[in-house]
Each structure stands twice: as C-alpha cells, then as structure tokens.
C-alpha cells in the first residue's frame, strides 16, 4: 500500500479535519492556560472527563456526552470555587480526586470496558467518523469565536487581576467563561490524543510559544501553529511509519517546547554576563 493510498482513506481524512479544528482551538485556549498558570486545571478537567466518559458508557450513552457534561461541570466548579487565581489549586485537586474516584467506580461496575477506556485514555484519532468531525469542528469554531470576543478582557484579568477588577471587569465571570472554553476544548482534544495526552495540544505548544515571543497575539498564533503542525505531522508519521498517532503528536509538541527552551537559554547566555 502506498503512502498516498493510506492518506486518501476516508478515516485518515476525517482525522486530518478533526486535528485541524482541535489544534486551532487548543492552541488559542492553551495560550491562556499557560499565561494563567492553569495547567493543573487543564489536567484535572481532562481526567474528570474520563470519569464522565466511563459513566456514559455504563449508561449506554456515547462517551462524548459524558465527557461534555463532566468537563463542563468540572470547569464551572473550578471557576466558582477558585475565583481568584490564588486559592484554586485545592479546589482543582478536590474536584480531580472526587471525579477519578467516580471513574473507578464506573469502570468496576461495567465489565466489558477495556476498549472504550483505552480509547478515552489514549485517543482514537483514526476512528473518528463524519459525525465526530462535525462535532469537533463546531465546538472548535465556537471556542475560537468566543476567545476572539473576550480576548482583551481575559488577557487583562489574567495578567493583572487587581487592576482589571478595579477597571470594571469580573474576575469570576471571565474565569467561568474561560474554564468552560477549556472544558469544551478538552472534550474535543480527548477525541484526538486522549485524556492522558491532552497536555500535548493544550500546554506544550503554548508553552513553547511563550518562550518565543512576548507579544500576546503573536504567541497565541504561534501556539495554534505549533499545535497544528505537531498534529498534522504526527498524524502523517503515524500513518506512514506506524505507531500510535498520539505518541507522534506528543513527541513533536514536546520537542518544540524543548527546542524553544534551548533557544532561549542559548540566547540569554551572553547578555546575562554583560548585564552583570
């Protein structure tokens, strides 16, 4: 089978559409995850989603339904409980462990669960259907539109909450909107790379972008670009060389971050001496 034949297969094409949509949303939301130091919340929401998916399967529903409900509820809980950026780690931790406990319960109640569990945990990118693509594209578009509408207030409240509140913004309101966006993005990203590797699209590209520029818009565009290239290339390598697509995507995203860090370290070597 030639590479071109593989790439022309319907399920591979679905995968390309899906990763394109998810990468753009994850890059944009990921920029704020990194800026707001909310990687832990992103991590927790993904794992909470796992419990939701397990519960949905137990009830005979599509895992996506469970993912959506649980991720959104977790986002809202974290947003309400940890209103300020300072007291939220405990809230996130409690939400996370409570949901993981539920997940364990659901799995134990449902015996034939191994396959579904595996695909939620590690992604099922080569199994997405047209319906999945449509859902992922719609949700990603919604996320991108909302991010573009709240971009400046969200940036303001993330960078300098005290001033932003004094100037009339609602820290809690923006935090809730943002965590809902994060939850939606997590749900669609889980379709691609799975719960355990959601970070590769949400955090790694944005973290790399933050190393490359100090202009917010540019960093956000870069994060989207890095996520897109990582997932396109990862998908290509998975189809071409074999191996799990999730592995390739995470490897590429993480490498980009390493390269960005190394570049900064190398550049700051000499100026650091001349300043002193």
């Amino acid at each position: 089978m030639s590479l071109w034949f593989l790439l022309s297969l319907a399920f591979v094409q679905h995968a390309y559409y899906a990763v394109t949509a998810v990468s753009l949303a994850a890059g944009a939301v990921g920029y704020f995850v990194v800026l707001r130091r909310q990687a832990f919340a992103a991590h927790a929401i993904g794992h909470v989603g796992f419990a939701g998916a397990a519960g949905a399967v137990l009830l005979g529903l599509s895992p996506v339904v469970g993912l959506l409900v649980f991720c959104l509820v977790a986002g809202v809980l974290i947003g309400l409980g940890g209103a300020t950026l300072d007291d939220r780690d405990a809230v996130v931790g409690v939400t996370l462990t409570a949901a993981l406990g539920l997940g364990v319960l659901f799995i134990s109640l449902y015996s034939g669960y191994a396959d579904a569990t595996y695909s939620i945990l590690f992604g099922q990118i080569l199994g997405v259907t047209w319906a999945d693509v449509a859902l992922v594209a719609l949700v990603s578009l919604l996320v991108l539109v909302v991010v573009s509408l709240i971009y400046r207030p969200l940036l303001f409240v993330s960078v300098d909450p005290s001033s932003a509140v004094a100037r009339g913004l609602s820290e809690r309101g923006l935090s809730l909107i943002f965590l809902s966006l994060l939850a939606l993005t997590t749900v669609v990203a889980i379709q691609i790379v799975g719960v355990l590797l959601v970070f590769s699209l949400l955090v790694a590209p944005a973290a790399a972008a933050e190393q490359m520029t100090n202009r917010p818009l540019r960093a956000m565009a870069l994060a989207m670009g890095i996520a897109l290239v990582s997932s396109w290339l990862g998908l290509f390598l998975g189809v071409w060389l074999g191996g799990p697509v999730s592995f390739w995507i995470t490897a590429l995203a993480a490498s980009t971050y390493l390269v960005a860090r190394a570049r900064v370290a190398w550049r700051e070597r000499r100026p650091a001496m001349s300043v002193a």
Partner: protein, 289 residues
C-alpha cells in the same frame, strides 16, 4: 469640584469598623499621602474611591460623582500585582490599560491606541525597556511600566497603593519624581498609600493619617506633629527631626507587632549611615509591611 471628598464616612467590613467619621478633601492636581499602621484601612480608602467597597455611613464623591466601579476617570496601581511573573511585554501591558476592558472585535483605532501607549511610556520614561518581558524588568522599571498602565487613559484621579514598596532608595526617588511629573503633566490628583512619609515629603500637599479607626487630614505639618499623632495613637508620640530634615517618629512601635526579625531600638545610636538610618526610620514611621 474636588477629586475626592469624604463626609463623615465610615467603613465596616465583616462586622468590624475599619475607620469612621472621615472627612477628606483631595483637590485636583494635588498629592495626598495616606499613612498609618498596617491594617489601618489605607488601601480600603482607595477601594472606596474605586467603588469596590461601599461605605457603611456618610458619603463619598469621586470627581463630583458617586464612585463607580470601572470609571475611566480613575487610575489605580494596586500593590500586589502579578507583573513580576509575566512574559508579556510592557507595551502590551500598557495597552491593556487603554482598551483591556473592551469586549468584541476591534473597531479600528489601532493608531490612536499605539500613540496613547507610546505617549504613556514616554511620560513614565519606560520606552527603553517597553518591549522586554515584564518578568525581566527591575522593580523600578516595573513601577514605571505600571504607572504608564495606570495613566494611559489619562485619569483625573490616580490612586497608588505603596508604589515605593520594595524599591531601593535611588529607585524610590525616581518614582517620586515621576509621580510629580505625572501630576504636573496630566493635572491629575494623586492619592498615595505609603508607610513612610520621608521619601514623599517633597511631593506631598496633604497627609491623611489613619490609626485606631480614626482619620486625620491636613498639611504635613498639621498632621505629622506630636500632639495630633499622640491623640491619634492614644499615647505620647515623639517626633525627632534629623539634620537632613527627616522626621522620625518614636513611640508607634509598641502598639503593633513588628514583622522584622531584628530587635528594634528607638533612638538607635548607630544610625549614622544614610541607608541604615533610612531603613530604621521607615520601620518606626508606620509599622510597615
């Protein structure tokens, strides 16, 4: 019309009276220093002016109106900020002061925004490092950027919470000069919360001293004298003027726990060196943070 007016104003938070019966007038173009021990309610006064805390009694007017949260006529520089950890550039941070509260897609005006940001950065002398990430700036540089952020929309009342905290003496003097320049250039009234009047003394038209739930206001000489402060604190307070004209207040420290690890002796004999002396004065001046 005064920039800030309080009539018999009282604030209660969590069932506890913070201060009461405050009568204050801040005229346009003047600088008012707010002094007093930790927890006396100095920052609360700023929050009242911002419309974030409401009075439990009396009245407050900001620029002729009741305080309104989010007013674009009031600039505010909070003490606790997160700029020391930010990767974004100073220029982008100042731009947030200009239109950071606007939702939706930009409707033109990019040019006017860039000009306003550049002008604010020039005024505060922050242009040279405006494109560096905030987290790489020194404390004094960060204060300059933060002042540009708080003034980019040309407020008529500027509220600064401890702008000199954690700065070395040289940087303190620079920021004091800068506040003076901002006042002269924009005509804004400035209210500065501080724990030491000395570095501000060249700048200040009026002093507000808050202690034991009372507020006294007046010129520095009217407030910072032994009889007023003794009455305010409820025990004898002594003021010593150093040869360089600094006022050292002796007798405040007994009332409040001291956060500093080293023992503190009033009337320290070795405080000859300027810096040492200053540190010492700052300490006893107002039980600083």
């Amino acid at each position: 019309m005064n920039a800030l007016e309080l009539h018999d104003a009282s604030v209660t938070r969590g069932g506890k009276v913070i201060w009461r019966d405050a009568n204050v007038n801040v005229a346009p173009g003047t600088v008012t220093a707010v002094l007093g021990p930790n927890g006396a309610g100095k920052s609360t006064l700023l929050l009242c002016a911002l419309g974030l805390v409401s009075l439990s009694g009396g009245s407050i007017e900001v620029l002729g109106d009741s305080p309104r949260r989010g007013s674009s006529r009031v600039g505010y520089m909070p003490q606790s900020r997160r700029d020391a950890e930010q990767a974004i550039s100073g220029r982008d941070y100042v731009a947030l002061g200009y239109d950071g509260t606007h939702y939706g897609w930009r409707r033109g005006g990019a040019r006017a925004k860039a000009d306003a940001v550049q002008e604010a950065l020039s005024l505060t002398g922050a242009r040279a490092f405006a494109d560096r990430p905030l987290r790489t700036l020194s404390g004094g540089q960060r204060q300059r950027v933060a002042l540009a952020h708080a003034t980019v929309f040309r407020p008529q009342l500027l509220l600064l919470d401890e702008p000199l905290a954690a700065l070395d003496l040289a940087a303190q003097a620079e920021i004091v000069d800068l506040v003076n320049l901002i006042r002269d250039t924009t005509g804004a009234a400035v209210v500065v919360v501080a724990h030491d009047l000395n570095p501000l003394s060249s700048l200040v038209d009026q002093v507000l001293w808050i202690a034991r739930r009372q507020v006294r206001s007046g010129t520095p000489d009217e407030v910072v004298n032994e009889s007023v402060l003794s009455e305010l604190y409820g025990h004898a307070v002594e003021i010593v003027v150093t040869p360089r004209g600094r006022r050292v207040i002796v007798g405040l420290e007994e009332e409040f726990a001291h956060p500093h690890p080293h023992p503190h002796v009033a009337g320290h004999a070795h405080a000859a060196r300027d810096e040492e002396a200053h540190e010492h004065f700052a300490e006893i001046y107002g039980d600083d943070s």
